[in-house]
């Protein structure tokens, strides 16, 4: 059974307005890295909030680890399984020292202190922030803050982390740090990653990409499959990574280039 299943899910914020999600069917296996792309207002963030019971479907159902999100007795367990990281790092950090911030979640779960100590150390190490455990979070860069926010989630030992545009407010260095961290957690720790982004180039390392448009899933496929449909994506107001677009234009000029996704692959295939 899949880790996360959405079956015929609709969601409306307000009966007067068009539904934010319409008939979503999606299953995500444990260990997958799934990127979700779509224009502003396509329903990506609403979808994310259904996964750890920040919202409940208006119709259909969401099943996480075999548990239905409608059953209130499952909520705590589901929220432990699926952690959320949001766009603005400043809104997610609450404590005055990095390690206290990371300990906040497990403390709320009533976990004994020695176990918390161990989890905090491991979580900070996993995001490469162990050196900063005594720092006040407000002295960190945006990328470092996001990594601390991610450590706070990891300390809850979730099976899945949902990240809603975690790099939108970061500079290029911070973006690289966060992307490297979530790929590491996926590959080395086996954590399922659901990553929502407007940066197309951040999705090329995903196992699957889900393309959303106007509250529905428009396409699901591997990055190669999705980015082959350049014109379709542009119609949805989306884009493809620059290297993919350049390869596409060069092919039109008669230059033979295999399927590529990154700048490295493009350069290697040309010369």
């Amino acid at each position: 059974m899949a880790l996360i299943e959405l079956r015929g899910v609709d969601f409306s914020y307000n009966e007067m307005e068009a539904p934010a999600l319409k008939n979503i069917n999606l299953s995500i296996e444990a260990g997958e890295f799934v990127s979700i792309i779509g224009g502003n207002g396509s329903g990506k963030s609403t979808l994310a909030k259904l996964l750890n019971v920040l919202l409940l479907p208006s119709a259909g159902e969401v099943i996480v680890g075999g548990m239905n999100t409608f059953a209130e007795e499952n909520w705590l367990k589901i929220r432990q399984k699926v952690g959320m990281v949001f766009q603005n790092p400043d809104n997610q950090l609450v404590a005055t020292r990095v390690e206290d911030d990371v300990a906040f979640g497990p403390e709320n779960l009533g976990i004994p202190s020695p176990e918390i100590r161990k989890r905090v150390d491991q979580a900070l190490e996993a995001v490469g922030m162990d050196r900063f455990k005594d720092y006040p979070p407000h002295n960190l860069s945006g990328g470092q803050k996001q990594r601390v926010a991610i450590a706070g989630i990891i300390a809850m030992e979730p099976e899945c982390i949902v990240l809603d545009e975690p790099t939108a407010m970061l500079d290029p260095q911070g973006r690289r740090e966060v992307m490297d961290t979530i790929h590491y957690l996926n590959k080395e720790k086996g954590i399922t990653i659901i990553h929502i982004t407007h940066f197309m180039e951040e999705t090329v390392g995903a196992d699957r990409i889900v393309v959303m448009s106007q509250g529905s899933i428009d396409k699901i496929g591997s990055p190669l499959e999705i980015f082959r449909e350049i014109d379709d994506l542009k119609k949805l107001g989306l884009d493809v990574p620059l290297a993919v677009e350049m390869a596409h234009e060069l092919r039109k000029k008669g230059i033979k280039i295999p399927d590529i996704l990154s700048i490295n692959e493009l350069v290697d295939s040309l010369c």
């Binding site: 224009g39 500079d171 290029p172 107001g237 290297a243 350049m246 230059i255």
Partner: protein, 285 residues
């Protein structure tokens, strides 16, 4: 309008002393499109706030059209009318019940007749691509994030500034929203004759739009030159923790591998033309 900074330094002292700007000398002329780039903490945002009179420098002088704005008596309202600043995530500062009210807030503060205010609101909304009749009475809080950003920018444009400063205006926008913003900036620069200062981490935006790029690091100006000059300093740009425009990155790497392509092109069409011309001319390497 002419903006001049002479020996400007700025120190923040909130228990711990940070020198945000060190001895900046800078002249900004009319009808420039300046791309301002630098790592987080390089001093960009401090510089931008000084230009708009939001903060005063610790030492040095800033003059706008010969008027010293660092002196106590200078009217800051006058400066802010001439120099519009679009903050990061400006939509967080929307507060009125209607979109009309929000965009009209600045012009009303200028004590303009309501008739003139209405003309300005209409113009500003149309500039950012929001239909006046459709949007004027709606609440800004029921809009998508991208539309809210447009309303916030319209609020600054309604002041009819001569200089427009934007701090990461495309952060968090989807690709379509980003493209619309780029088109707007091009229009304001080319058709409206505005001077624009764009702060962005997106080097491809900087390279495409600006005719002068200023690179900052640790409170100092490291480069101040045409984009093709600045982005030819590949090693230094990387050392500063900055990216190259992706097109430059590709051309530069191909060039290093022996393909004789120019590296000073910033448009996809030109780059594709250049690569295919070279590849046709030579044996594959």
């Amino acid at each position: 309008m002419l903006i001049e900074l002479k020996n400007v330094s700025h120190i923040y002292d909130d228990g711990q002393v940070t020198e945000a700007l060190r001895n900046i000398n800078l002249t900004i002329r009319e009808r420039e499109f300046i791309g301002l780039v630098g790592h987080t903490g390089s001093g960009k945002s401090t510089l931008v706030q000084l230009l708009n009179g939001l903060i005063k420098p610790s030492t040095g002088t800033i003059t706008i059209d010969g008027l010293n704005i660092t002196e106590g008596k200078t009217s800051l309202l006058g400066i802010r009318r001439k120099i519009g600043l679009v903050f990061q995530y400006p939509e967080h500062q929307l507060f009125e019940e209607t979109i009309y009210g929000d965009v009209a807030f600045g012009p009303r503060n200028l004590q303009l007749e309501e008739e003139e205010v209405e003309i300005r609101v209409r113009e500003a909304l149309e500039l950012v691509g929001l239909d006046y009749e459709e949007f004027k009475d709606r609440s800004p809080f029921n809009l998508s994030g991208g539309q809210q950003r447009k309303v916030a920018i319209a609020g600054v444009l309604a002041m009819k500034p001569e200089v427009l400063i934007l701090d990461e205006p495309s952060a968090g926008l989807d690709p379509q929203g980003r493209q619309q913003l780029i088109n707007l900036l091009e229009y304001l620069y080319e058709e409206k004759g505005m001077t624009i200062i764009l702060v962005s981490h997106r080097m491809e935006e900087i390279a495409r739009l600006s005719n002068r790029v200023i690179v900052m690091s640790e409170g100092e100006i490291i480069f101040d030159d045409r984009p093709e000059k600045v982005f030819s300093e590949v090693e230094r740009i990387r050392q500063l923790g900055l990216d190259l425009p992706e097109i430059t990155e590709i051309l530069w790497r191909l060039n290093k591998k022996g393909l004789q392509v120019r590296t000073d092109l910033f448009s996809l069409t030109e780059a594709v033309e250049e690569i295919s011309k070279e590849l046709r001319g030579v044996e594959p390497c």
